[in-house]
C-alpha cells in the first residue's frame, strides 16, 4: 500500500514538475531552455511509476512487506528537526546536548538518566573539540547569545 501510494505521489510530483517547467522562459530554444531536462525527467518518471503501478497490480514484484514505522523513529525525526531550530536559537552546545540525550533516551534500555546525561555530554564535547578547536570549523553560538 505504501509503495502504491508513493508511486501515486511521485506521479503527481512529475506532473507538477512538467507543468511547472512550462512556465520557464526560452521554451522556443528547445534543448537550450531551462525547461527541457526537467520535462524529460518528469515524463520518464511518470511513465516508470505507471509501469510500477502495473507491476504491483499484476503481482509481478511478489508480496509487498508490511511497512511499520515505530513511534520512536517518528519521534527521532521530530527531535532531529527541532534540533536544528534550537541550534539556531541557543547554539551548538546546549542544543546538541539535549538532542543526543533525547535520542539516546528513546533507546535507553534500562540505563539511568544520569548515565545518559554523562554520555551525551561526552559525545557533545568530543565533537566540539574536533570541529571547533582542532579543525576551526564554525559552530553556531545561537541568536540568543550573539
Amino acid at each position: 500500500m505504501y509503495l502504491v501510494g508513493t508511486y501515486l505521489v511521485l506521479m503527481a510530483a512529475a506532473a507538477g514538475i512538467y507543468v511547472g517547467a512550462m512556465s520557464f522562459p526560452a521554451r522556443h530554444l528547445g534543448p537550450a531552455g531551462p525547461g527541457f531536462f526537467p520535462q524529460l525527467v518528469a515524463g520518464v518518471l511518470f511513465s516508470l511509476c505507471l509501469w510500477g503501478l502495473f507491476l504491483s497490480w499484476a503481482g509481478a514484484e511478489g508480496p509487498q512487506p508490511r511497512v511499520r514505522i515505530p513511534p520512536r523513529v517518528l519521534l527521532g525525526m521530530g527531535v532531529s528537526l527541532l534540533y536544528i531550530l534550537s541550534m539556531e536559537l541557543v547554539g551548538y552546545f546546549p542544543s546538541t546536548l539535549l538532542f543526543v540525550f533525547l535520542i539516546m533516551s528513546l533507546v535507553r534500555d534500562g540505563a539511568g538518566y544520569g548515565r545518559l546525561a554523562a554520555e551525551s555530554l561526552a559525545l557533545t564535547a568530543i565533537v566540539f573539540l574536533l570541529f571547533r578547536i582542532i579543525l576551526k570549523t564554525y559552530l553556531p553560538l545561537g541568536i540568543l547569545f550573539e
Binding site: G30, P70, M77, L135
Partner: protein, 502 residues
Amino acid sequence: MSGILEAFATALTPMNLLMVALGTASGVTLGAIPGLTATMAIAILIPFTYGFQILPATALMLGIYCGGMYGGSIAAILIRVPGAPCNAATALDGYPMARQGLAGRAIAMSTIASAVGGLFSTAVLLICVAGLARFVLMFSTEEYFVLTVFGVVMVISLSGRSMTRGFISALLGLVVGQVGLDPILPHPRFTFGVTNLLTGFPVVPVLIGLFCLSQGFHMLEEGATASRPRMVYAKQRLAFRDLWAVRRTLLRSSLIGTLVGIVPAAGPNIAAFLGYSEARRASRQPEAFGTGLLEGIAAPEAANNAVPAGALVPLLSFGIPGDTVTAILLGGLLLHGYTPGPMMIRENVELIYPMFLFLILANLCMLVIGLFGVRPVARLVGLAGNRLLIGAVCMFGVVGGFAYSGQLTEALITVLFGIVGYFLEKIGIPIVPMSITVILGPMMEVYLRQSLIASNGDVWTLVFRPIAAGLWVLAALMIWSSVRVNRRIAQSAAALAASESN
C-alpha cells in the same frame, strides 16, 4: 628513462617526504570525518603551502588527495556514512561486514585495495601519459554525456531484483539535481523563492542524510537490544589467500579507475560504482554482494584510488581539472608559475615525474596508516554500545551536514534527506541510485544540452560518434548481463526457498 630517474632523485628530499606523509595523514583523518572531504582538507591546508616551493607544495596536496580518497571509506565501513561520494559503494559491503564484527578486516581490505589501485594506475600512467593525453582529446560533450549515462546504468543494475525501483530512485536523484539555477541559462528552477536553493542541494549534506542519518533512524527502529557481534581482534587479520582470492577484482577495478580517471570530470564516483558493478557481474556469487563481501570492498576502493593518477593526465596536458581537488591543485600550479598545457609534459619533466613519485609514496604511507593506525579506531567503535552508537550516528549526521559549509540550511537538508532515505528503503526503493544521480545528474544535463545545441537538436550525434557508440554498446551489454545475473540470483533464491519448505 634516465630523465625519470633524475627527476625522482631530485624529488626525494626529506622535506618532500615529510610533506607526503603529512598530507596523507591529514587526508585520511579529514576524509574519515563525516561532513569533511578531501576537497575541504586541501582547502584548509593549502594556505600553508603559499610559502613553499612547488615540489613540497605538490607533495602535500597529492598526499591529501590520495589520503582523502581512502579516508572516506573508514566512515563508510564503520557507520555507513561515506566520507566522500566515491566511498558510497564501499558502504554496500563494508558496513554489513562491520555489523558482523569484522570491521577490522573490512578496513584492512579497503586499505590494501586502495594502495593497489593507486600504485597500479601511477605505474601505468608513468609509462603512458603522453599517449593517453592524445586519447582524451577525442572526447567531446557527446562522449561525456554517454559516460555519465553509463555510470548511472551501472548503478541501476545493482538494484537487485527490481530495476524499475532502481530506475525510479535514479530519476529522483535527477529531480533533486535540477533544483537551483539552470546551468546554461541562469534561470532559477524549483527554488520556490528560497535564496539558499539557488545553488541547488549541496551534494555532501544530501549524501550524509541519505546514508548516515537514515541509518540512524534504522538503528532507532532496531533499538538498543539489536544484536551486534563483538569485534574479535584475532579474526580481523587478512590472510594472503584473502588477497589472492580478489586478485582479478583488484586488477580489473584498478584498470577501470585508471581509464575513468583520465577522462576529465568523470571522477572517482563513476569509477567506484563501475568497479563494484563489474565485480558483481563477474562474480560466481553475485547474490552475496551487499551482505559483507571482501570483494565488494576491494572493487570500489581499488577503482576510486586509481583515479588520482589518471586525473593528472587531463590536468597537466590541458589544464582541465578532473574534480574539485584537482581544480585546487591547478590553482596551486598556476600560483607557482606553471601553466598546464600540451607542452607541459615534455618541457617540465622535473615537475611531472616527481608528481607521480609523490603519488606512489602517498599510497605507501596510506598503506602503513591504514594497516596500523585505523584498526584500533575500528575496535573502539566496535566496543561502543548500541545506544551510544545510535546517538553518535544521529549527531554526526546532523553536525556533519552543518559542518560542510556552516549553514543551518544544510543541516536541515541533511535531516530531510535522512527522512526521505529511511522511508524509501522501508518501501523497497534503493537509495544508492539516487545518491549517484544527485552527483552525476547536473553533469549529465549540461553535456546533453550542449551536445543537442551544438548539433541543432540532432539526437543521433549522441549515438553514432565512434567512442559514444562504443560506450552505448558497452552499456547495453552491461544491462543485459546484469539482468541475467539478477535472474540467476532470483532462481537461486527460489530454489533455496523451495528446498527449505520441503
